[in-house]
């Protein structure tokens, strides 16, 4: 049997990471009047998006459990530094 590797992104404590499509991305940047540089960052090598097909400048939507709002969306731009 092949040795199963532990995957951080599948763990229940890791919030869901979703890559935004081009249209959604444009909408988001329009909504907040920002460029992707002014968004919080996420490393391309981050364990929770390692297996995703992302390039620098993409935006990742993170659905987090929140104490105040139940569930809240957070956005991060993929960066290399």
């Amino acid at each position: 049997m092949k040795k199963q590797k532990f995957k951080v992104d599948k763990h229940i404590l890791t919030p869901k990471h979703i890559k935004l499509g081009e249209r959604e991305k444009a909408q988001l940047l329009e909504k907040y009047h920002v460029t992707s540089k002014e968004l919080p960052k996420i490393l391309k090598t981050d364990a929770s998006i390692k297996d995703m097909d992302v390039k620098i400048g993409d935006i990742i939507k993170i659905m987090r459990k929140s104490e105040t709002a139940g569930e809240s969306a957070f956005y991060r731009a993929v960066s290399d530094v």
């Binding site: 920002v34 968004l39 919080p40 709002a69 969306a73 957070f74």
Partner: protein, 893 residues
Amino acid sequence: MAEEKEEQKQELEDVKQAIEGKEGKTERIEEEQYVYKQVRSIAFSVLSPKMIRKMASAKIVTPELYDKEGYPVDGGLMDIRLGVIDPGLRCKTCGSKLKECIGHFGYIELARPIIHVKFVNIILTLVKCTCRECGRILIPDNKLPKIKELLDTVEKESGVEERRQKVKEVIAGLKTVSKCPNCKAKQKKISMEKPTTFLEDEKRLSPIEIRARLEKIPDADCEIFGLKVPHVRPEWMVLTILPIPPVTMRPSITLESGERSEDDLTHKMGDIVRINQRLFENINAGAPEIIVEDLWDLLQYHVTTFFDNNIAQLPPARHRSGQPLKTLTERIKSKEGRIRHNLAGKRTNFSARTVISPDPMLELFEVGVPFAIANKLTVPERVNEWNIQYLKKFVENGPEKYPGANYIIRPDGKKKKITEETKEASLEELQPGYIVERHLMDGDVAVFNRQPSLHRMSMMCHRVKVLPGKTLRLNPAVCTPYNADFDGDEMNLHIPQTEEARAESEILMEVQTQLISLRYGLSIIGCTQDAISGNYSLTKDNSIKREDAIDLLSAVGITDFSGLPRKSVVTGKEIFSMLLPDDFNYSGHSRLCDRSKDRCDKETHVVIENGRLVSGVMDRNSLGEESGLMLRNIHQKYGKDHSIDMLGKIFRLGIEYLFRAGFTSALSDTDLPEQARLKIKEDLDNAKNNVDKLIAQFREGSLEAFPGKTLQETLELRILEVLNKARNETGKVVANYADKRTHTMVMAESGARGNLLNLAQMAACVGQQAMRGKRIEKGFERRTLSHFRKADLSPEARGFITNGFKNGLTPAEFFFGSMTGRDSLMDTALRTPKSGYLYRRLANAMQDLKVEYDNTVRDASKKIIQFDYGEDGIDVSKSENGFINVSRVIETV
């Protein structure tokens, strides 16, 4: 420093020319002529003898200060070429008057070179690391480039000091120390005797020799030590010439007797000049070497203490009175020095600080100011034709009589002090356009503050109320936002001086505007302590005669009694309802409500209908600070001014009621009936038996261990469980049997102070003393005290206190009690500064985060930190404890 000085001089010249060129024109143009320069860089370096001569405008040759007429001697330390400190005189160097002339340096030619104390460490390194014959650094040329590289990285990481240290290490590691790699000269061992003596193989090196050696070091080698040559030459660290600071930085004071008292620096320099002259004379006269050397050492001492009078190996130079002189280093260093005291320390005018004390009769937004302070703090009022009569009264009263004035300010800005003598003249002079600085009066705006100012409620705007006494007074209800108590706390008071400042403080900082906390959306200001006990007693089935009720309400400040039912006896609830607005509705729970039941009892359910308290009692849940929605709802519906007024009245109602009813916590409050005492004894005995059984099981080995625990740990846990249960049991007994009408119980039930556990500890059993979550186990070998048997695990041997405080503790119990007492005392003492610093770091890191109009939280560069404030976008200060009660909003709209 040298470069900086040059630039400054140049700048000064420019400015002077600009002013001279435009003389006679309007002031405005003159102002525009100032030349501003931007500082690109600052270089620190050592003054060269050439530079000292260049910047000096006088050579000092005589220790005398003044001649017989009291005029400064030419070539003396107070030479008028060094600047002016007397009014009316003009500077001989620059021609400007007192305050315009910044002063000029002088110099003295030293008869023999003197080591500069502040440079001894560098000198030692230099002399040790260079050849005594050729002056080259003791590193072979072929190794230099590599070592330089290493040194540069060291300097980048930890500074120049480290670099010099590293040079020493490198040379020590080279093993060529005894022979110069360049001229093959033999090297001798150099050591230093603190503070300023150098030795070579136990033979003394004179400063002349040291200087000669430093001169020999080539420029390129200096750079290895981090000394850039055009700025610093090593030989400059041995003084041949000493700059004399300008008189303006050491002014003499004229005493009342007409005698002049000189500055410490002048005294010290007098010593230097005197000894220097004597040394000169002795050398010229060809005196024996011993005498010259003695004088030389003395001169070295004086120059050293001139720079620093706190050198460990030297006795500090003293005044005749025995007090040590304050010389150059002492002027700059430490808390009282120039930097921390004058540059970093800021002080404020129009402010006061004293001890605070409570006064519940003040309104919440008032602050009681003692007369002594109100006489000194002033408010400027501009005179116009409508208020001139009113303001003249203050001037008439003068500075001594209370509502008076201390100063008048003429329209041209001249400030005149009002005294008994000048009063008449000032009164005469007063006309529209003048400003009168009148004493502080009732109703004036003041900003009140208590440190540490951690949140915006630490600085609030109050109205002044001038009172007799010597302390600042505040309503005890506003202690919470300031985090103040009255065990000796001091607070600060500031009086805004301009119309704008007053408006700003009134609108933004008034106590009323700070009622609702923006941290959790509830009222921060509420009733405390006896105000809660009072309202609880009043509203809990209580009835008083109508006359007494009216007396009570008038004391609170109610004048309209039409709302009070026309009965000869009214209930406490009806009296309390008088303070509520007529259309107020509220429903909530009191503290004693058991929320597990669907509906709670009539007495615990607080219901207010149309401004009438129908059922329930007022306790901390409804009235207290940081809790309960009642105050919050009143604020939302009726606004800040109404709620602050009501809060003040409720507070006073509680206190006034207690004044009339009396309130005493007595020893008999902890009395229990015989039955209860037997019950408690039985419970404790049972527990003890159970523990004994557990221990027996443990010894036999029949005790079953909890999963993941050892047998010992299991036993400890089981024992703790049994003992805690027993203590809770006694607590319940006390709660059931204790007289509910006692004032101790009233305090506990209303939430004013103390709780049932405190009462149970007094009446029945203090319980287990725990350290670090375990029973007490340390002390002696396998026992806690020497009169227990070793390995005794029984409750009493491990810190279980069976007695209550009223019964009294046995000596062993008392000892266990003080163990945990000391532990928790130390814990709080150590934790407070730690958590304070943690908070400070957080506040500093987040200080410029801001909620933008689109509800995002962004930093100063507009980068997004949070996409929706608090993830739900709720402004907590406009919510109810962080939530929005949708059903109630629908109901009310």
